[in-house]
Amino acid sequence: MDSVVITITSGKGGVGKTTTTANIGTALALLGKKVVIADADIGLRNLDIVLGLENRIVYDSVDFIEGRCKLRQALIRDKRAGELYLLPAAQTRDKTAIKPQQMVDMINELRDEFHYILIDSPAGIEQGFQTAIAPADRVIVIINPEVSSVRDADRVIGLVEAHQKGPAMLIVNRIDSARVKKKDMLSVEDITEILSSQVIGIVPEDEEILSSTNRGQPVVLNSKGSAAQAYRDIARRIVGESVPLTMPSTGSFWQKLFGRA
């Protein structure tokens, strides 16, 4: 199978890597693709709870690496989205539990069977990050429109290139179009100019993200909101459809009511 391995990373923590991985993975599966989303954040696993699959984990990727199970046994099927599988991270180990080459070998084993394998990278630029990008065909860097996130992203983009994985593509997450309009927040144009990289998605700040994460239901499963739409658009761009990049309206009720967004 012609599989594509995409690592989602950022440098800075808390910018939305896990949320993005869960939603794009789910959206790709809803497009009829066979998808694995792999959690590479060993010791701080979260994809399971964001997806609402935390109670179903028996084995994880470290169990496979250390020979306690077959890779198949570690995969958890998410029946809500067709052929979507989670490969969980170990929660009680650290980032050194999987070496870059072991990650490459493990992901290669999945390539025959799946169209897309998304890897949720840990924050930082140390070994965990290097392990997460080692098997990648493409790398997506998540950015929030604020100075420290953009600066960290620049560093990561450089490292991605140094590892021959470039050019990295950007997703600008948590943008608030009303604040951008007031020039009180960096715009997507500002960010592309500063980082000179290609943007493949613009995701608005959206209250729905918190409530859907509370329930363990990625927004793409059932929401018509602006973040959900943005994730679906990204999934369609990933499969090769040409979907124009538009500035999403900000998802808050008041902004919608007064039409500011």
């Binding site: 600066r151 020039k183 009180d184 927040m185 960096l186 715009s187 100019e193 500063i194």
Partner: protein
């Protein structure tokens, strides 16, 4: 001081964010910290003013980046008399 416009519409902080990022990223990418850059700047001023009559306060030394190419741009306006008579003989 904030202008009436800023009070009314809020400060355009995005412009500050952009220019500050552009500055810091040039240094990050070149792996030349602002402190090291300051030292280089002083070295250059020293080297030139040893031989030429210049006013250090008019020298501008900047890092610039265009389509992935980094440059150090040094602009030194010269005074009319070419050589500082006093310091020249100290060299050689």
């Amino acid at each position: 001081m904030s202008s009436f416009r800023e009070l009314l519409f809020g400060k355009k902080s995005a412009e500050d964010a952009k220019s500050r990022l552009q500055f810091v990223l040039i240094h990050d990418r070149a792996e030349i910290s602002p402190g090291l850059f300051e030292e280089i700047r002083n070295d250059i001023i020293m080297a030139i003013s040893n031989r030429l009559n210049i006013d250090p306060s008019y020298i501008s030394i900047n890092m610039d980046e265009e389509s992935g190419e980094r440059r150090l741009l040094v602009d030194v306006p010269l005074k009319n008399s070419r050589r500082p008579t006093a310091t020249r003989s100290t060299n050689n």
